[in-house]
């Protein structure tokens, strides 16, 4: 019996390996996209910016997403300077509204605003993703498999499609074979095609509500020599979130 179980595991591992070999770049990116855009989610996150001089700035926010990231709401909790500020993104962040509590003003932003730094961090709103950006904006090619951060990984190259207005001309991803979590993403800009502008490293991968989740991500900005750490303090998936949560009315609450 024990031998049979071991044989079965062996066969399954072999099949997994075979199916892994058969996966194309596009298929892997689709699996990555599925992991990164769950049906709905809530998270409390801490973002710590470390500047060139070693200064730190810390932000705590709460965020909700629905329809695989098609609707997103982020509300800042700390520090006092930004408390109550909120960002609503609908239609895969094609429509963005920001709310400033001290002036009670809601400002509609165009999609180019996604290029702006999020609270001065090394993450832009675009980097925070949501939706199907990897699929819609880039064409994927599978490169030779590699090892990264101690994981066996698929290695992918994503080239910006001609019709896309994404900020990055090229991305390189190392995706863990076991769970399709990208542990490293290199972001390249047009002006310097061979040296990554930024590198995102994910770690502390845990299974949350059945979804593999990198609880910690660090974005290294190679150009400015700064880094920003994003840590999930708590995260939940597949929640029943009402559509009224993702409205301008709720943004002001």
């Amino acid at each position: 019996m024990k031998q049979a179980v071991i044989m079965l595991i062996g066969v399954l591992l072999g099949l997994n390996s075979l199916s892994g070999q058969a996966l194309s770049g596009e298929e892997i990116v689709k699996r990555v996209n599925d992991i990164m855009s769950p049906a709905s989610s809530w998270a409390k996150s801490k973002m710590t910016i470390t500047t060139t001089s070693g200064d730190k700035r810390t932000f705590v926010s709460e965020s909700w997403s629905k329809n695989k990231g098609e609707k997103n709401l982020v509300r800042y909790l700390e520090p006092s300077r930004v408390k109550g500020q909120a960002v609503l993104m609908l239609n895969n962040a094609d429509d963005i509204w920001m709310f400033f509590p001290r002036t009670q003003r809601v400002r509609k932003l165009a999609t180019h605003a996604k290029r702006q730094k999020m609270q001065g961090s090394d993450f832009s709103y675009e980097d925070m993703g949501g939706g199907d950006a990897f699929i819609d904006d880039f064409a994927s090619t599978r490169l030779e498999d590699d090892t990264a951060e101690g994981f066996e990984c698929y290695q992918l190259e994503l080239l910006r499609k001609p019709e896309s207005d994404a900020s990055y001309s090229r991305l390189r991803l190392w995706v863990v074979k076991e769970n399709f979590v990208p542990v490293i993403i290199d972001y390249y800009a047009e002006k310097e095609p061979e040296r990554p502008l930024k590198r995102l490293v994910a770690s502390d991968i845990r299974l949350v509500d059945g979804i593999p989740t990198a609880m910690k991500m660090v974005m290294f900005n190679q150009e400015d020599n700064t880094q920003t750490e994003m840590e999930f303090l708590d995260v939940k998936y597949n929640l029943a979130l009402d559509d009224s949560l993702f409205t301008e009315r709720n943004l002001k609450k």
């Binding site: 910016i49 500047t51 060139t52 200064d55 700035r57 810390t58 520090p79 006092s80 300077r81 408390k83 094609d94 429509d95 001290r102 002036t103 009670q104 003003r105 809601v106 400002r107 509609k108 932003l109 165009a110 999609t111 180019h112 605003a113 290029r115 702006q116 730094k117 001065g120 961090s121 090394d122 832009s124 207005d165 900020s167 800009a189 047009e190 400015d224 700064t226 409205t247 301008e248 009315r249 609450k253």
Partner: protein, 401 residues
């Protein structure tokens, strides 16, 4: 002494309110705010003047239940240094010479220490509507610097995002189908006729937010060439103003775009309209640029036509512009994670004058930020941005708690 007494009364009332609140609600009272020291320097006709202000804003907020929120803030502001400004020092010889000698002392603006309840409102939220009652922020329109549909506020062109004062009002927001919302607002004065009534319908078409706004208000405009000894103020000429306007914001060809228009029917004086339209863009380098055009037909097309009333109504925020057509251009780049540098340019098309305003924003710590600007007026004497208005600058530190 009266100010101190008001302060003590406020503290007493606040204490009573907090202590008398049931324990579960008291637990939810948040106290926050900021302290803001600021220095404003002005070089005027060879002299350098400085005004220091210290502002403490204390905010209270309490979610009393799922449906009821209370918020308030009180502001304490002290002024030091040069706290009296003679407006005539900034104006052209032609205008100053038109002022009767016995009235020369009337054009002095004085800044005195103040304590005031800026906002205090309660919001009742139910599924079919939200009701906000009390002194509250009212933000109208999509314009960045100029808002033709906003009869409540007057933004500072050099500092357009600074918070505006609260206004006493009853506001009802009714969500209708889809993303459509109907807003009705009543800002009471002594009588119904003097009060401001507003109705606004907001909706979304494609990538654009659309607003249609109708307002009736009493415009309290003054004649700054005649003094009313009984009222100890300049003579007031109030008149009914009815406004119909609209605004929109969205995206076109990758640019953020917005426009705002308002036509004003006046009871006695000539009707006028205001128009603002702008666009912005963020480059891949994260450099941000914005341009906004503004037309106000109350403004004049020739600097030689500006008179004392134009200037005084502009300085006292009764009129949003002195020149008819203006353009505001702003560029900003994040030099580091903590430092952003920018440049504002305000150009008056009507009289070919301009002001250049380099800006700096620095995050000193999680809760402390510094904002500074220099301003250089480059226009000929008598124009909207004349050199005679002086060059200057401002450094503002804000510590949040």
């Amino acid at each position: 002494m009266r100010t101190l007494s008001s302060f003590l009364t406020f503290l007493l009332m606040a204490g009573i309110c907090l202590l008398s609140t049931p324990l579960n609600a008291q637990d939810k009272v948040e106290i926050f705010g900021y302290f803001e020291p600021q220095v404003l320097g002005t070089r005027l006709q060879g002299n350098f003047y400085q005004t220091f202000t210290n502002k403490l804003r204390l905010d209270l907020r309490s979610v009393l239940s799922d449906h009821i929120t209370f918020a308030a803030n009180v502001n304490f502001i002290t002024y030091h240094g040069k706290t009296e400004w003679d407006v005539l020092e900034f104006l052209s010889e032609k205008i100053v010479s038109s002022v009767p000698p016995e009235m020369l002392d009337f054009y002095v603006l004085r800044f005195e220490h103040e304590i005031f309840l800026d906002n205090a409102w309660v919001k009742l939220s139910f599924k079919p509507l939200d009701i906000t009652l009390g002194k509250q922020q009212i933000s109208m329109g999509t314009g960045y610097v100029w808002n033709p549909t906003d009869v409540f506020n007057h933004k500072d062109v050099l500092d357009p995002t600074y918070e505006q004062p609260g206004h006493n009002a009853l506001r009802v927001d009714v969500p209708l189908m889809g993303s459509t919302t109907l807003t009705a607002l009543y800002s009471p004065e002594s009588t119904w006729a003097e009060s401001t009534k507003l109705v606004e319908l907001k909706s979304r078409i494609g990538r654009f937010d659309l607003f249609v706004t109708a307002i009736e208000t009493l415009w309290r405009v003054h004649d700054y060439t005649h003094f009313d000894p009984d009222g100890m103020n300049f003579v007031e000429h109030p008149e009914k103003r009815q406004l119909l306007g609209g605004s929109t914001a969205g995206e076109f060809l990758g640019l953020g775009v917005w426009a705002e228009y308002a036509y004003n029917w006046m009871e006695k004086s000539d009707d006028f309209y205001e128009l603002a339209a702008g666009a912005d863009y963020t480059f891949v380098s994260q450099t941000y640029v914005m341009v906004e055009y503004y037309r106000n037909t109350l403004g004049k097309t020739d600097a030689s036509d500006y008179d004392l009333n134009d200037w005084m109504r502009f300085f006292s925020a009764e009129q949003k512009a002195i020149a008819r057509d203006q353009v505001y251009i702003f560029g900003q780049h994040p030099v580091t994670d903590l430092l952003s540098l920018g440049l504002q340019t305000i150009y008056s098309i009507s009289d070919s004058s301009a002001a250049l305003v380099p800006t700096l924003f620095y995050s000193l710590s999680d809760n402390v930020e510094v904002f500074a600007y220099l301003s250089f007026n480059l226009g000929k004497e008598g124009t909207a941005y004349a050199r005679k208005l002086g060059d200057g600058g401002l450094i503002r530190l804000r510590a949040y708690f």
